[in-house]
Symmetry: C2
Subunit: 127 residues, 2 copies
DNA sequence: CAGCATCCCCGCAGATACTG
DNA sequence: CAGTATCTGCGGGGATGCTG
């Protein structure tokens, strides 16, 4: 069993794990998606996304910037204006992310139904 | 700006957020991927994935089961044998996940390069 | 407006030991 | 072998206040 090769994505210390851990964050995908239509300001993202704190947003943006997925543009104005936009590299991640949203749109209800249907066994799973 | 509609995926309290938060977990995608080729035992997953603790694996499996993405099969044998497999619903998530791995395979190096290139500004981002 | 620093708490996740 | 229970720590992440 396990037809996975040693260099197979995802398992063990393969390159794909990097990406997963990059995406496997509450906000990463959401932020990237928020930038998918062009440059957006910090404050706009806050409202657009909804539910994210300034701290988490900045943190996420910094990480994405460090990973080369987005670019930061600070304009020397008052009041300050800072825009973020996808890099070409970052833009390539939008498609995969969009697939996730498509999946959600299609199967979201099914997941919710499963959740409602209640846990198979209340407790005591041994044996 | 923001050509996103109110019901648009990802932003605010849209359905896609459910999926993101489902996937936005260190192990969810990895476990699903591990099951993508057929039923796998608990212990096999541990070794296959590498780095996950029994506790986290069980926890992840339970959640996926609750969400209707995987199914649990416990065989009344000694020693006990338990297999997990994707449900049809869960199987539909493999494609999106695979896209992520494809992306990683293609762009993983670019991300690592960006990381090495160092942070744009060492410190003091204000202004 | 954007961002950093600080404080603080809750929960994730590892380690360990026990049961069926 | 599979799973649970308990303890513990570390860090994620919110709230707040200050700076440019």
């Amino acid at each position: 069993m396990s037809g996975f090769g040693p260099g197979d994505p995802f398992l063990a210390d393969c390159p794909a794990r990097l990406t997963v851990e990059l995406i496997a964050d509450k906000w990463t995908a959401v932020v990237l998606y928020g930038l998918s239509e062009g440059p957006v300001r910090h404050g706009e993202l806050i409202q657009l996304i909804g539910g994210i704190s300034r701290k988490m947003l900045t943190q996420t943006l910094r990480r994405l910037e460090a990973h080369g997925l987005i670019r930061r543009h600070a304009y020397a104005e008052v009041p300050p204006r800072v825009e973020y936009e996808l890099t070409p590299l970052g833009a390539t991640l939008i498609d995969p992310i969009r697939m996730l949203t498509e999946w959600a749109r299609t199967n979201g209800d099914a997941v919710l139904d499963a959740l409602d249907s209640g846990p198979p066994e209340p407790v005591a799973r041994n044996g």
